[in-house]
């Protein structure tokens, strides 16, 4: 990524992630929340591109934006009667949740600011990451790769069994 515009892109994507994320958790209409979730996931894919992880960015767009967001919208439409605008969408824990969340984020940011990370920038690999990741998945990480395929198959069968009409 061109280093001259990368900071501006980072702040643009961060702004979009934070604003659309806040809208996802606060809007009353759950369908609008799903649409802002798509914007948020796209911006996260942009952050991956800034980090040089182009394969992860492609997977993010394909899986999160293409599959999970569409799945969410399907579920919202199938449960449409209780997702209207006039219904209260948040419970009575909002003040406590705000205090908890702000405290968590403040502690996390304080810790991040204090920590000295062991940064290595000398061996940054530029260019195509897909081939390297594919080779690693087929050699070093082949056992987790196979296990996660079984997990996906189990989730597929489980979802069909759970959602099937008797």
């Amino acid at each position: 990524m061109d280093s001259a515009i990368a900071p501006y892109l980072f702040y643009l994507f961060s702004f979009m992630i934070v604003v659309s994320g806040l809208l996802v958790v606060t809007l009353r209409d759950i369908f609008h929340c799903a649409l802002f979730l798509i914007i948020c996931l796209f911006s996260v894919a942009g952050v991956y591109v800034l980090l040089g992880a182009d394969f992860i960015a492609a997977v993010q767009v394909l899986l999160y934006v293409g599959a999970i967001a569409v799945l969410m919208i399907f579920a919202i439409m199938l449960t449409a009667k209780v997702s209207g605008i006039g219904i209260k969408q948040q419970n009575e824990q909002v003040p406590i949740a705000i205090i908890t969340t702000v405290a968590f984020v403040a502690i996390a940011l304080y810790g991040l600011g204090k920590t000295i990370w062991n940064i290595k920038t000398d061996a940054v690999i530029s260019g195509d990451t897909t081939m390297a990741i594919g080779k690693l998945l087929m050699t070093t990480y082949v056992v987790p790769f196979e296990i996660v395929s079984v997990v996906l198959l189990a989730a597929l069968i489980g979802a069909i069994v759970i959602a099937r009409r008797n």
């Binding site: 980072f10 961060s14 994320g21 958790v25 969410m72 919202i76 948040q90 908890t100 996390a108």
Partner: protein
Amino acid sequence: MEISLTHYLALAAVLFGIGLFGVLTRRNAVGILMSIELMFNAVNINLVAFNRYVTPADFSGQIFSIFVIVVAAAEATVGLAIVLLIYRNFRDIFVDNINLMKW
């Protein structure tokens, strides 16, 4: 103006906090699942950022984030199936109304 590892970690912390707030306050079960997806994305930003800045020679962080994405997909599938089943039985997906197992 250089973007460092701390910037990415701060962004991920803020996004995780937003998802946490959504999980704590949403009444709609689908809304809770969407907030959980936000938290998964925060974790993935952390993993990819650490991979870029701390271990740039190997791809362990990126491969771990692929596994996180796969498990998130499985979680969303099963979670939404459960939500649909609850809706079919209760005609309701607000989690504070579904208190059958609450003693």
